[in-house]
């Protein structure tokens, strides 16, 4: 897994690529919670994400919950293929804000 962080408008973009699983989801959590503690709005970019397991999804739920507490925006961008299927299977697509592009977050 690779994580690249950059800025887009008022958002911190956390771009995940490769596979998020039990071995590295703690890194994702630390990063996301860290940015949220600094009151950053978050876009999690899934466009190059090949696989995310339940620990990764649970991490996103924790981060999303913290964003709500802190009244910050939190969107997932570009979910497709297996990660999108996992989101649907776990019905997390009903919780998260799923966007097709970063620009949609500006609407």
């Amino acid at each position: 897994m690779q994580i690249i962080v950059d800025d887009f408008d008022r958002f911190k973009v956390v771009k995940l690529s490769g596979e998020v699983d039990l071995h590295n989801s703690r890194d994702v959590k630390k990063l996301l919670l860290g940015h949220l503690e600094e009151l950053a709005h978050i876009l999690v970019d899934f466009t190059e994400l090949e696989y995310i397991d339940s620990s990764g999804m649970a991490t996103l739920v924790e981060a999303f919950n913290l964003s709500k507490t802190k009244k910050l925006d939190f969107h997932i961008v570009g979910a497709k293929d297996a990660p999108l299927q996992v989101l649907k299977l776990t019905r997390l697509d009903s919780i998260f804000s799923l966007l097709e592009s970063r620009e949609q977050a500006l609407d």
């Binding site: 999804m57 739920v61 924790e62 996992v86 299977l89």
Partner: protein, 268 residues
Amino acid sequence: MTESQQPIISIKNLDTHYGDRQVLFDVNLDVQPGEIMVIMGGSGSGKSTLLKHLLALKNPTKGSVHIDGLALHSASAGEIKQLRKKMGVAFQGGAMLSSLTVGENIRLPLEHNSKLDRQTIDIMMRMKLELMSLAGFENLMPSELSGGMLKRAGLARAVVMDPKILFFDEPSAGLDPITSVELDELILKLREAMNMSMVIVTHELDSAFKIADRIMVLFDGRVAQIGTVDEIKHSDDIRIQNLINRRPRDEAMDGDAYLKRLVSGENS
């Protein structure tokens, strides 16, 4: 699933004995990644023994079993332990620990095999309960669940670590038809979303025909046929047709073998 991939499970020329009694004879099977392989057969056909081999609970007398590239007969205890983290097992009766709540049972594999913190583990556990339509049941004791619920709770525990391979022993046994159909649909959903390979042992034909990519039929420890649902349904093997049509096995009795068993006690 594609046929050209390296099989995730490969069984070659497997023979097994319990004492002097041979129970599996020259079993060969490849399971491809993402494939649902159903093992069917009557009582005493060797299904459960084969499952024991796949779970590395029994060593073959002859032949080999490879799972995810690991030769089980020569693997170290550490390698087997690592492999088991990639394997989920759902047992017939759910096999929940009766002294723990449903939630504690489901959390158990994560608590033993990951360094995730409690909150992440709890969310993962609840996600699996949601998936199994058991939301809100985490604080109940297993004894407070119905048979169908226990089976789903067992499945939740089996998949809580997102295994690459799921082994499921008799998913439909003891369930009413509607619950059984729901469980079949859940199995298919799991495969679709998580690309899990599955080996499912069952004697329930409707369930097998609904979920299987391929079916292996065992009779008296021997592979009668491995094929797609259509191939099995239209098999020329009279024993398979009898199994499908639920006819007693004596119509397909091998007279010579029976005579041998009666006269000399030989089982092959």
